[in-house]
Every structure is written in structure tokens, then in C-alpha cells.
């Protein structure tokens, strides 16, 4: 039995030399996922030379900047904007809503109406309340909900390959 313990300890020591993968920080993964999702959208042509991700009431630290700095989506350089008031929203492709009450969400959605902006959030019930893509976690895995009707209504064309990885949710006001 002592040998068994010894072998187990040695095994553990061995694996510590070769760590490659990790338990990942949730906020970091969410920031990465936003960029990955963007690649599953058929973006309409625009004159802008930049791909803009705007973060509303950021709660994810500096991950958006550090992860997307110098990278491109749709052959356009990514720019990250941070706002705390929807009235300050300028041109953007994606609006990530990091924190908002339901009342704020209503106001935000009204403001975004027909502006061809993809909305993403990890807020509870986000897609059912009128958002397009929601990131949520179950059993230490991140998952995606998509309100497809809302996306279509806002002329956001989501590729089928993304829909295969998500749950389709009906919104309150499809």
C-alpha cells in the first residue's frame, strides 16, 4: 500500500512538470468568446475601418483590451470602447452589456433599435428580455443562448455553425 501512495505522489510530481491547460478565469473566457462569436456573424459592409466592440458598464477588468489588442475581425482592426451611459454610444458592431438593470436594458434596446448592433451579455435572462446572445455557465462550462428572432429583426445574420453550439431562446417580444 505504501508503494501505491508513493507511485501516486510521483505521478503528481510528474504532471506538474508538464502543465499545458488550465482552469480558466471566467471573465477572461467571456472576453475571448465575444471575439469568437463575431466571426460567426455575416457583417454588413460598412465604411468603418475598425471593428468596434463597446462594453457597457465593464465588469470584466482589462480582459477586453488585453485580449483583443492588435487583432482583427472581418479584416478590420479591433477597437474597444467603454461607456457607462447608452447615450454615449457611437458606432459599434458589438455591444457587450456587462451590468444593467432590466429597466436599463429596455432603454438600451430602444436606443439600439434597427442599428444593426449585436448585443451580448452574461446577465440573467438576457436573451429572453430582448438581448441577442447570452453567455451563462453550468457545471464550470460556459454556454450560449441565442434569441434568433431578435437577431433577425435587427438584421444580424448569424451563421448556422454558431447556432449548432447554442440554445435557441424565444424572447418576450419576438
Amino acid at each position: 500500500m505504501k508503494k501505491l501512495i508513493f507511485i501516486s505522489i510521483l505521478t503528481s510530481i510528474f504532471i506538474s512538470y508538464n502543465n499545458l491547460y488550465a482552469y480558466e478565469v471566467e471573465d477572461k473566457l467571456k472576453s475571448i468568446i465575444v471575439g469568437k462569436i463575431a466571426k460567426f456573424i455575416n457583417w454588413e459592409n460598412s465604411n468603418s475601418k475598425e471593428f468596434v466592440i463597446t462594453v457597457y458598464k465593464n465588469q470584466l477588468g482589462n480582459y477586453f483590451n488585453s485580449i483583443h489588442k492588435g487583432k482583427k475581425i472581418n479584416d478590420k482592426k479591433i477597437r474597444i470602447e467603454y461607456i457607462n451611459n447608452i447615450e454615449n454610444l457611437k458606432y459599434t458592431n458589438i455591444l457587450y452589456i456587462s451590468k444593467a438593470t432590466s429597466a436599463e436594458l429596455s432603454s438600451i434596446f430602444s436606443h439600439l433599435n434597427q442599428k444593426n448592433i449585436l448585443t451580448i451579455s452574461d446577465l440573467r435572462g438576457f436573451t429572453q428580455k430582448g438581448g441577442m446572445i447570452q453567455i451563462y455557465s453550468i457545471s464550470q462550462k460556459l454556454k450560449l443562448n441565442v434569441n434568433l428572432n431578435k437577431a433577425k429583426k435587427e438584421n444580424i445574420n448569424i451563421k448556422a455553425s454558431l447556432l449548432r453550439m447554442t440554445n435557441i431562446v424565444e424572447g418576450d417580444n419576438p
Binding site: 501505491l4 510530481i13 504532471i15 508538464n18 499545458l20 482552469y23
Partner: protein, 763 residues
């Protein structure tokens, strides 16, 4: 010591040689990123938002539903023993009600010095008073096995004093059980197994159903049913000619059914109504000592084995609501009603006083505990400052209801005399509490938390407790943490009001013996005083080093000083004329009572190493190595206690525990191997103290995923059938050649190897 040295060397080696993880997430597909395992978060021990448990200011461990499933363990006490070396649990025999509710300790402290929360709310204790001296003797504690493991999302274990945050009982730690919430799979499983000795057959059926509701709400129902046949490990009864096995030693015959409802109904306006209900019913049978043949005895001239049948009903119901005010302050209001009834029945026995007209089945009375807790909590974050405050009101009621008169008149029921009308009580108390808890994060590296709690009890007055904790990240992956706190444990209502007396024939006369309330004249003449709360001081210093996000080392030292610990006194006879007068007045020959008997200090260390490695072929190995050492010393006496009791407190359970837990996943297979070493301890018996040697056990689970919906497993616990040393003396009842051949305080039980098969479907 050698082990500690080895662990230190290994730890140092790892610190020097570990290779940091490569950040290649950016090159991964979205699908692969969605398959990444995110950090484990916990919110126990702090009023901040949930955060990575490795960044906690206090030592916290988290056991996930997946880990529980892979362990093959079927009872919550066994799950905790499997994963946490400082957690000890026992399975007793011939120990009255204790045979039916497993006692436990954490870091050497009693079962009632550990607070248990379900979804963040205090769980009520059992009504059972452990009358038998063992590691949970003299306590009323939570019956952890009322909660089916299939309903559990994760278990957070706070290894720290936290009475200043959560109130009474949180002296040595908090076990926080989080029920499954929003889920994507319904499950049904069946587990069947038996012991190597071809007894102890167990069949367990679990099911979990989840219904999604609006705005990520849910309604979950978990049902668990468990049938357990007894094991028999008793020795031969040498009073018989020829000697034969009669008394039962081992697991009881038990039927256990539980149901858990957990629901959150979310509103569009972000408010959430939440509720959970846990119901458990247990019907369990064990034996008392065999009564030898006596031809002059009516009914059972050829001898008889009294059977204790415990019927235990336990339930709790929680209803609450939470949300945010317009200024972003979080609010939470809730009420939890908890109920436990422990009903004693004795069968196949008799009352000698009633002779040939004695019944053979008795209702021996029942114990009931009710606890109702109402909480109102507020929490707000302003930049780097978190503030939480709350109020609590708790009502408790403890009741003893007498059994049939035939169960206690005269000599009472053989095996366990019924509770008499004189033992009856219906007592209650209330308490109010207010707390404030603040966290200030100076920067991303340094954080400090302070908590203050005031409690006022209707029976013994008020207490105030304080906790200060801090964490400092020396570098991104090296955390230092320290906590200091005061704490208390209110005497349980049972300890204040419990009595159980029965009559025995002494010098051809009936006389009363047993447990008397501290207020009883017999206790008072012996020096009993009104119980006061246990008070404690707890210090912890620790460090967490994360070699990578996947590999970590935690080292945490702790020191807990407890004054006025409440114990059941030794059995005392009258030793002065004044005492004899009172004893004669009540017809008593000896008595014991609850008293604030001793002061203790407990100190030790936990060293825990976690690692995960993914091989090139995609297979994955998870390893945990965890060493625990803790020792308790009595530092002062308010009342004399026996050497046996001193030994049981200081040496009655393993001081060191060691786990090596490995899980290897390859293709459709998952192999889980847990090796446990339980250090030496000693058990007192008569006038002797017997040393029990260390024991090493191995548990194995092999799982095969047939397809996405079906899993099958085979496995076993204590697969090499290790057993404890037998008593080191010859004695009819408790000896190496007696009826009970080893101690009831065995950390591995007495039933030996258990092998099982399990199948589960997800849909």
C-alpha cells in the same frame, strides 16, 4: 513527521520546477473554448461576490457534483470523508440512537461546532442527543445524510472560524451545500452493491429532474431512495454454550428516502423568488446487547436480542426573495423552517418488571427539534468597498415526548428504557442577531475584511464576535492569507433541557440512573450550573501558490482555542451526606449532566496540492494530495472529568490524515482512485487506553461512458478490506474476543470492503 518531511520536500520541488501554462486560448475554436473548464468559485467565508476559491482570504475547499459522482460515494458524510482529510465520521454499533445518525468532526472539533448551510441558509440540527461516549458524544448535530448527493451542485467547506459572520456553531468551520440550480440534464441512476463478506447489500435509486423557467429560473426535483441491509461483524458471545454470534455489530438495516425541491422564479424586473424543500424519512434498525437465556424469565427463556427501530422524519422549507434596489443595493429576505423528529421503538424485547404480561414491542418516546430562521440581508459595492449587513431572528423548540408507560415503568424496556413522563420537556428560545461585514480591496493585490456580529439569546444573554481577515498577493500566483476571529457556540436547547433516566436494580432495589438537566436538584447538588456559551478564538495563516491556473499548493495553519466546552459529565454517585439526601429524595444512584467542563486548544496544518494534466492524446489526469495534521489539548478544567474522557478528546481520533486522490479520463473511461491513510489514535475502555494503529484504505471507481446518455460504473470502497486493530484485551462485551471487537470510533467503519455497480442515464 517523516510524512510531513516528505510532503515538504515534494512541495519545495514543485515550487522550483513547475512549468507555467501556455496561454493558447486565442488559437482555439469557439467550440473548444466552450469546453474549457472555468474556475471554481465560492462565496463562503466572505460577503463579497463569489470568487475563485483559491483567492479566498480563508481556506476554502470545493467539491463539485462531478467529483461526487466519480467518487462512487452514496452518503454525504462519506463524500466529505472521501475528499477532506480533516473530516472524520463514524458508524457506531450498540450505541442507541447514534447508530442511525452518523456523527462527524472537522479538524478535531465536535459535530455541533460546525455550521451547516444549504444555499447559504442555516440548516437545523437533528433532535437526537448522542448519549453514548464517542467522538460526537453529548452533541446534537446536523444529520448530513438527510441531503441526497444527487441534489448537490457543490459543497464548499470553510476551514475557518466564522461565528462573527454566520453566528453560533461556526467555531471550527462551515459546510455550505449548494443545491443544483439551472441545469441542462435530467438524470436517473441506480447503484447496487454489497460487502466482501456477502452482506450489507445496498440498492440506491436517484433521479433528478429540472424544468427551466422564465429568465433562467428553474424548478428542480431530486428523489433518492436507499435500501441498506445490515452487516454483521460481531464476535461470538462467550456467555453462551456453545458461543455464538447474537448481537449485531456493523451497519444497521436502513430504508432511507429523500426528496429535494429547489426552485427560482425570476421576474422581468430582476427580482427572484426562491424556495427549497428537503424531506427525508429514515427507518433504521440496529440491536442492543443480546440478553442471555434464563429459564425463570417469562416470554424469552431462551434469550433475546432487543432491536431498536428508529423512525426519523426530517424536513426543511425555505422561502425567500432577492433583488436589487434602484441604487444597486442587493437585498435578500428569507425564512427557513426546519423540523426533525427522532422516534424510538423497541421490538423483540420486554420489561422485566411486567413479567409475563409485558409487551414485546414498545414506543419508547420521541424527540423533536424545530428551528425557524428569518433573515434580512443587504449588500452593496462601491468601487473597492463592499458592505454587507443583516438581521436574523431565530426560534427554536425542543421537545421530548414520553413513550408508552410500559417502556419506562420499573426496569423499563430491556435494551433502551423509554423516555418517561419526568423526562418530558417542551422548551423554546429565541435569538436576535445583527451583523455588519465589510471588505476593502486596496488594489488587486491587497484586501482586508472585517465582520462584527451581535447576538441576543432569550435564555443566556448576548454575545459579540469579531473577525478580521486579509489576503495579499505577493505576485500574481502567490497569495498569503490570514484570519483572526472570536466565536461562540450557544448551548443547544437539548443540552439545556435533555434528560433521560431509567431504573435499574441496585442492591435489590430500583434506583434511577441517567442524564439529568443541569437545573435538576440532583445535578445542582453535584455542582451543575446553568450552561453558558462556549467561546472561541481562532487564528489561521496560510498561503496559496498557483503554479499555473491548473496546479496549486495550499498550506494553511490553524489554531482554535475554545473555553467552556460543554460535555456530558462523568456518571456521579453521591459522595457527601448532603448529596445523599438529594439522591435519596429522588431515588437516584448515579447521575450525569451537561456542564461547561473544559478549555481546549486545537492546532494543526492542512497541506493540499491540486494538479491537472492533459496528455497529447486528450486523456486527462487530475490529482490531489492532501495532508492534514491536528492535535487537541485540554488546557483547563472547570470540572473534573475521567481519564477516559480526556483521552477521547485528545487522542480519540486520528491526528493525521492523508489522501492521494487521482482521476484519469481516457476516451470513454474514467478511473478514480483514492488512497487514504488514517493516522493512529487511541480508544479508552474500562480503565485502559488502547492504541489503534494507522490504516491505509483504497477506493476505486471505473466508469465507462456507453454513449452521451448512458454511463456505467463498477467500483469499491476499502477495496483491500482493511480493518482496524481489535481491542487489546479479552472481555465478554468489548474485547478482541468479545462481542464488539473494536472501537466504535473507527474512521473506516467496521464493515470492510464494499463493491458496487452503477448505471446512470441523462436525458
Amino acid at each position: 513527521m517523516k510524512l510531513l518531511k516528505s510532503v515538504s520536500i515534494i512541495s519545495t520541488t514543485l515550487l522550483v520546477t513547475s512549468v507555467h501554462a501556455t496561454d493558447d486560448l486565442d488559437n482555439k475554436s469557439l467550440e473548444n473554448i466552450l469546453n474549457e473548464t472555468i474556475e471554481l468559485k465560492s462565496d463562503i467565508g466572505s460577503r463579497e461576490q463569489a470568487k475563485n476559491f483559491l483567492d479566498s482570504k480563508s481556506p476554502v475547499d470545493v467539491i463539485t457534483a462531478k467529483q461526487i459522482e466519480e467518487s462512487g460515494q452514496t452518503k454525504l458524510t462519506d463524500v466529505l470523508k472521501y475528499f477532506v482529510p480533516g473530516f472524520n465520521t463514524i458508524e457506531t454499533s450498540v450505541s442507541d440512537g447514534t447508530d442511525h445518525i452518523n456523527g462527524f468532526t472537522l479538524r478535531g472539533m465536535n459535530s455541533d461546532q460546525i455550521l451547516v448551510l444549504v444555499n447559504g441558509k442555516r440548516l437545523h440540527t437533528s433532535a437526537l442527543m448522542n448519549e453514548i461516549p464517542n467522538i460526537s458524544g453529548g452533541t446534537t448535530h446536523v444529520d448530513l445524510n438527510t441531503i441526497p448527493v444527487v441534489a448537490i451542485e457543490k459543497i464548499e467547506i470553510l476551514r475557518d472560524g466564522a461565528a462573527a459572520q454566520y453566528g453560533t456553531d461556526a467555531i471550527s468551520g462551515v459546510i455550505s451545500i449548494i443545491l443544483k440550480g439551472q441545469s441542462d440534464k435530467n438524470t436517473m441512476s441506480m447503484h447496487a452493491g454489497q460487502r466482501k463478506e456477502s452482506d450489507g447489500e445496498q440498492v440506491k435509486m436517484d433521479s433528478f429532474f429540472s424544468v427551466p423557467l422564465n429568465y433562467d429560473g428553474f424548478a428542480n426535483l431530486a428523489i433518492s431512495a436507499n435500501l441498506q441491509n445490515r452487516t454483521q461483524r460481531a464476535g461470538e458471545d462467550r456467555r453462551l454454550d456453545p458461543p455464538s454470534v447474537q448481537t449485531r455489530m456493523g451497519l444497521p438495516d436502513s430504508k432511507n428516502i429523500s426528496a429535494v425541491l429547489n426552485a427560482e422564479i425570476a421576474q422581468y424586473n430582476d427580482n427572484v423568488i426562491y424556495s427549497n424543500a428537503i424531506v427525508n424519512y429514515r427507518d433504521s434498525e440496529s440491536s442492543t446487547f443480546y440478553r442471555t437465556p434464563d429459564e425463570n424469565r417469562p416470554i424469552y427463556p431462551n434469550g433475546f436480542l432487543p432491536i431498536m427501530n428508529a423512525k426519523i422524519l426530517d424536513y426543511s422549507f425555505t422561502l425567500g426573495a432577492k433583488g436589487r434596489f434602484s441604487d444597486d443595493t442587493q437585498w435578500d429576505i428569507s425564512n427557513v423552517y426546519g423540523y426533525n423528529n427522532f422516534h424510538y421503538y423497541l421490538n423483540d424485547t420486554m420489561n422485566y418488571t411486567l413479567g409475563s404480561v409485558s409487551p414485546t414491542s414498545f414506543d419508547n418516546g420521541n424527540l423533536t427539534f424545530i428551528q425557524n430562521t428569518t433573515n434580512f440581508d443587504l449588500k452593496k459595492s462601491i468601487d473597492n468597498f463592499n458592505l454587507a449587513a443583516g438581521l436574523e431572528y431565530r426560534y427554536e423548540n425542543y421537545e421530548i415526548e414520553a413513550g408508552d408507560e410500559a417502556s419506562y415503568i420499573g426496569t423499563g424496556t430491556q435494551g433502551f428504557s423509554g423516555f418517561s413522563s419526568e423526562n418530558e420537556t417542551d422548551s423554546h428560545r429565541e435569538n436576535y442577531a445583527a451583523y455588519i461585514d465589510t471588505v476593502y480591496n486596496f488594489n488587486k493585490y491587497f484586501s482586508i475584511e472585517g465582520a462584527l456580529r451581535y447576538e441576543d439569546y432569550s435564555d443566556f444573554g448576548s454575545t459579540q464576535d469579531i473577525k478580521i481577515s486579509s489576503s495579499y498577493k505577493v505576485i500574481d500566483n502567490l497569495l498569503l492569507r490570514t484570519t483572526a476571529s472570536t466565536g461562540f457556540r450557544a448551548p443547544s436547547l437539548a443540552q439545556s433541557t435533555f434528560s433521560h433516566t431509567s431504573q435499574f436494580v441496585t442492591n435489590n432495589q430500583l434506583s434511577l440512573k441517567g442524564i439529568f438537566t443541569p437545573e435538576h436538584a440532583v445535578s445542582q447538588i453535584l455542582g451543575a450550573q446553568e450552561l453558558k456559551p462556549e467561546s472561541s478564538i481562532h487564528y489561521a495563516v496560510g498561503t496559496v501558490y498557483q503554479f499555473s491556473n491548473q496546479t496549486s499548493l495550499m498550506i494553511d495553519f490553524f489554531y482554535t482555542k475554545v473555553d467552556d466546552r460543554i460535555l456530558l459529565s462523568d456518571k456521579k454517585s453521591a459522595s457527601t451526606p448532603e448529596e445523599q439526601v438529594i439522591f435519596d429524595m429522588y431515588g437516584v444512584s448515579n447521575a450525569s449532566y451537561f456542564t461547561n467542563a473544559i478549555n481546549t486548544k486545537t492546532q494543526g496544518v492542512d497541506i493540499k496540492f491540486n494538479s491537472e494534466y492533459t496528455f497529447d492524446n486528450g486523456s486527462k489526469l487530475n490529482s490531489t494530495i492532501w495532508y492534514y495534521y491536528g492535535e487537541t489539548e485540554i488546557t483547563g478544567f472547570n470540572e473534573e472529568i475521567s481519564l477516559n474522557k480526556i483521552n477521547d478528546i485528545e487522542n480519540g481520533q486520528p491526528k493525521s490524515n492523508f489522501r492521494v486522490l487521482n482521476n484519469y479520463k481516457v476516451d470513454k473511461y474514467s478511473f478514480t482512485l483514492n488512497i487514504s491513510r488514517f493516522g493512529s489514535f487511541s480508544s479508552s475502555l474500562g480503565n485502559g487506553v488502547y492504541d489503534i494503529d494507522p490504516v491505509v484504505t483504497a477506493d476505486l471507481d471505473i466508469n465507462y461512458k456507453v454513449n452521451n446518455n448512458l454511463d456505467i460504473s463498477i467500483g469499491g470502497t476499502n477495496i483491500f478490506d482493511e480493518t482496524l486493530d481489535k481491542w487489546d484485551r479479552s472481555n465478554i462485551f468489548l474485547g478482541y474476543d468479545g462481542i464488539l471487537t473494536t472501537t466504535n470510533n473507527s474512521p473506516i467503519g467496521v464493515s470492510g470492503a464494499y463493491y458496487y455497480i452503477k448505471a446512470s442515464i441523462k436525458f
